[in-house]
Symmetry: C2
């Protein structure tokens, strides 16, 4: 299953997003827009950390957020080098051999440095973008942010300047001589699917499931 490994990214071979053709840039945007969580990597004294976070793309920047007291957020706002990876798993590639087995996926790796967003209005807008990324239209449904909530929240932007997209799709590539084997081969598609919305135990009667949740879908 050598094929199952998502190949490493040679940073030196990355092209700046600004230099990407519009089609490559669209690919990066589409993957970022479909993902729900990212994995944020950073190193402290050579020790790597990988932490899952919510995120959103806002034009040519990524947004992350968390509590102001969080050491993670403090590190992100410090401007240290970070790597943000978003991976969408599309299916299992089932070959006649282990070696040719693989996964269909789309992923984006972003390199950059974080910067804190300051100002209540700016932070509120960014938090709405983060909510709407997960649940399109949700920011029009929930109540307005409170000043103390904005003060307690750190919002980080990472300019989308250096990024790469990778993907695999389609059926397995078996060895020619394996094609006659009595072994099934193909793809098992996978998708993140929503279940039935579960109202909070404290929800008063008579409040309908809103559009952001009722119409939720991805991919």
């Amino acid at each position: 299953m050598s094929d199952t490994t998502f190949q490493t990214t040679e940073r030196s071979t990355l092209r700046r997003v600004k230099e990407l053709g519009s089609r490559d840039r669209e690919t990066v945007h589409a993957i970022l827009d479909e993902g729900l969580i990212c994995h944020v990597g950073f190193a402290v004294e050579g020790q790597p950390y990988v932490i899952p976070m919510g995120y959103a793309r806002d034009g040519e920047r990524l947004l992350l957020h968390g509590g102001v007291a969080s050491r993670l957020l403090q590190h992100l706002r410090s401007g240290a080098e970070i790597c943000v990876t978003v991976t969408l798993l599309d299916g299992l590639v089932v070959a006649r051999s282990g070696f040719s087995s693989s996964m269909n996926y789309r992923s984006v790796v972003v390199f950059g440095r974080g910067r804190a967003i300051e100002g209540e209005a700016e932070k509120a807008r960014a938090l709405d973008t983060l909510a709407d990324h997960l649940m399109p239209g949700r920011s029009r449904e929930y109540r307005a942010h409170l000043p103390k909530e904005l003060a307690a929240t750190e919002v980080i932007e990472i300019p989308l300047e250096e990024a790469t997209a990778k993907a695999r799709s389609g059926p397995p590539h078996d060895l020619e001589k394996d094609l006659e084997l009595d072994v099934w081969a193909g793809v098992l598609p996978l998708a993140l699917t929503p279940g039935t919305p579960e109202p909070s135990p404290d929800l008063p009667a008579g409040i309908d499931v809103p559009p952001s949740i009722r119409d939720w879908r991805r991919g």
Copy 2:
């Protein structure tokens, strides 16, 4: 949505897996066994990288693999410090405020150093474990590994010695005064679900979908 951020892991506060109670250890194992991909983090000269990979848990070690020529695999086998994170997204937590909105998830962060597995028999067993992790029972269905495939594949083990699990579950925790609002709150469950298996275009007629794919489910 300060709550949406998965909190950072203070490495110094992690307990060795060996010291985990059997219940904590079971939690770590269960999350690792349910995930399909991990995100592997490492740093080269201070630059962090986060790469998605297939993996498997084999007792008290994690297995990763890839092509021997891959720079990623060469780095992993060098014994450099790495961080492997597996995240399962269970649902969107829909609160009356953006601030209390969140995600339900389970995640494991493993810290350690890789070591190459040597020997054809050992590598073959590890590759079967990797395949069976993704598709339970698949190693009994595909043809045997070829010596040249084993030679072309690097398999890395990471002892499961230092790890931590985090999770959020349940409904949103709204402010008391928000409970009277005419705003829906609850959870939208999410799950990775299989679609209909798609046979390869080169699959001869009369080969049925095998148990590893027909019975595939997760979670």
